[in-house]
């Protein structure tokens, strides 16, 4: 169970990037999580509520996009999604594969904010 520390890192990096948007409120945070990233979405959601309490992220929605495991097959040269996490073999030719092209991601893709009257610091007021 390291979801709480992961969620705390999310809160930290969003808060850091938020510094330039004075007074903005975060409404949504979008994650990209590989199927092999060793995190469980339910635990992330549960910890998110706790970790965002009292921060500018409080009350925001956490959207988790799970990315399938994509491998590159040395035998046939194709890229493809493995059929199950219990078998790392090429979906095209069935050969064992160890070259992962996707599946370990654990990143904040973007977040959505609601801005008040004050615009991004240092920027002219945009229409």
């Amino acid at each position: 169970m390291h979801e709480l520390s992961i969620v705390s890192s999310i809160v930290d990096s969003v808060t850091e990037s938020l510094a330039v948007y004075h007074g903005a409120r975060v409404t949504e945070v979008r994650l990209r999580v590989g199927a092999l990233a060793a995190v469980v979405e339910d635990s992330l959601q549960f910890c998110y509520g706790i970790a965002t309490e009292g921060t500018s992220l409080e009350g925001s929605k956490l959207v988790v996009q799970i990315l399938p495991v994509i491998v590159h097959c040395a035998a046939c040269g194709a890229d493809g999604e493995i059929e199950s996490l219990q078998s790392f073999s090429c979906p095209h030719c069935g050969e064992p594969v160890s070259d992962l092209r996707q599946g370990r991601e654990l990143e904040v893709e973007s977040f959505e904010i609601e801005e008040g009257e004050i615009e991004k610091a240092g920027e002219a007021v945009t229409p």
Binding site: M1, H2, S5, I6, S9, I10, S13, V14, S17, Y21, A24, T27, L31, L36, A37, A38, V39, L85, Q86, S87, F88, S89, P96, V97, S98, L100, R104, L106, E107, V108, E109, S110, F111, E112, I113, E114, E115, G116
Partner: protein
């Protein structure tokens, strides 16, 4: 009130990844081979390491170990009996080691004076797989008492391993351990991985493991 999407595209474990990259550079330039040992609690990591350290020291190699546990320095005391320098990392509730903890516990150690540094991770088959410690080689351990399907249940960890060790093979008979099934499952998750079968009690399989360590050093010094 306006809504705006801010693109971030930032790794959540970025801080750990950066620290780990720094550590890896330090290890490489010091010429020390670093191995990160991961398994469930009780698999026999400490027993396996006790034996590895003793055997390496007897062969004139210079080896040291960091050992992670939630609490107590019991494992560090067991490992230190080998004569190797050992430090305990107590994570106090955290279920895995992080690069920062490793960096902190290396203070004052002359890495260039070491051939091998072993890091025994906190017993856990999930969380340690996300945290790079700057190691050159990640070793997943599985004991004959745990069930042959562990690799299928924890693909994340076994897929991230560079080598696997089946421990406690002296108990294979009484446990009716299905060796073929275990090997098949490990290789289904991590095709091509080197698998060692050892007993810390009898010393079985240790010679092959030590030979592998020697090869690894040569390979990593050359790269």
């Amino acid at each position: 009130m306006t809504t705006r999407i801010v693109e971030l595209r930032q790794g959540i474990l970025k801080k750990n990844d950066e620290l780990a990259r720094g550590l890896r550079q330090r290890f490489t330039s010091a010429g020390v081979l670093v191995l990160n040992l991961v398994s469930s609690p009780g698999t026999g990591k400490t027993a396996f390491l006790e034996r590895t350290l003793r055997d390496l020291l007897a062969r004139g190699s210079r080896a040291a170990a960091l050992v992670g546990d939630l609490e107590t320095d019991n494992d560090a005391r067991r490992l230190a009996a080998s004569g190797a320098p050992v430090r305990q990392i107590n994570t106090h509730g955290i279920c895995h080691l992080e690069a920062e903890m490793v960096a902190k516990h290396l203070e004052g150690w002359d890495l260039a004076g070491l051939d091998y540094l072993f890091i025994e991770n906190v017993g856990n088959l999930v969380c340690p797989s996300s945290y790079d410690l700057g190691e050159a080689v990640r070793v997943a351990l599985l004991s004959v008492t745990e069930g042959e399907d562990k690799p299928l249940k924890y693909p994340t960890l076994f897929n991230s391993a560079d080598a696997a060790v089946i421990t406690k093979i002296d108990l294979a008979g009484p446990c009716e351990f299905d060796r073929e099934a275990a090997l098949k499952n490990i290789r289904a998750i991590r095709p091509g991985i080197r698998v060692f079968e050892t007993s810390a009690k009898t010393g079985a399989g240790m010679a092959e493991w030590l030979e592998y360590l020697k090869e690894l050093r040569v390979r990593h010094a050359g790269s």
